[in-house]
Symmetry: C2
Subunit: 149 residues, 2 copies
């Protein structure tokens, strides 16, 4: 990925009136480099791998800020922990797939998370979250009868 992309992590942060800190930059880079939503834990591991000192709480707050600013978005995956991914202009409506066996979550770029128009009166729609559950290609091939836990 070129280093001088239009909206670098630095630009992205300053554009939202935030301070450019190593944690925020690293989190954005990690999210950008991944092809699937990351959990707090996974992001923490990325930072550790990049030898970037960080605190658990700081990471939570950095992500909270990114979500508030609309730079990132949360996904309620299959497990208890939140997952995060960068919010893209047009593609922030794709669905996700959660494998009930290996727990992996991945993006289904081709599957739109359609916002149905049939909402009751008075309701305001902000966003739609579509999560498909099942077995991913790897797990599916290993047979259905194995049992997942």
């Amino acid at each position: 990925m070129p280093a001088h992309v239009p909206s670098s992590a630095r630009e992205l942060i300053t554009a939202h009136g935030g301070r450019v800190t190593r944690t925020r930059v690293a989190v954005i880079e990690a999210l950008r480099a991944s092809d699937h939503p990351l959990s707090h834990d996974e992001i923490g591991a990325e930072l550790a791998a990049a030898a970037i000192p960080h605190d658990r709480v700081t990471l939570y707050r950095a992500l909270e800020w990114l979500v508030e600013q609309g730079i990132a978005q949360r996904i309620a995956g299959g497990e208890r922990a939140w997952r995060f991914e960068l919010r893209r202009e047009d593609a922030h409506r794709h669905a996700h797939f959660h494998c009930d066996r290996c727990g992996q979550i991945l993006c289904l770029e081709d599957v739109p998370a359609t916002a149905s128009p049939a909402l009751p009166a008075g309701f305001e729609l902000d966003r739609a979250e579509l999560v498909l559950h099942g077995a991913c290609a790897d797990c599916g091939r290993r047979g259905v009868a194995e049992g997942s836990r």
Copy 2:
């Protein structure tokens, strides 16, 4: 609701080879009586209101069993806690709405949780979970600019 519905809680349990215990019966009744998915906490409150002694862990395990048996299903709502609802034959595909302001979750009976056919090769779909986020009728009417937190 009539007491002699085709599949009473008792029948539902024995049909799946489980023992009929007050906790399981009460949980099923609570889920059946509610028009929206319930959290552990809410179900616990129902049991307490019905003067049914219960333990937090027992409740978790009762719900776990119900989900395993396909009697109930989990919904990953807006908050961290799981929500549960009875799984209905044909209607187990409706979407849910999460109000980002009051935290309430409710069923959108009219909105189907469509399972897209465009899954990558090798993937097996079990179920689709569609959650719409926004403001419910009550919260929406009270103005958008109030701020949610």
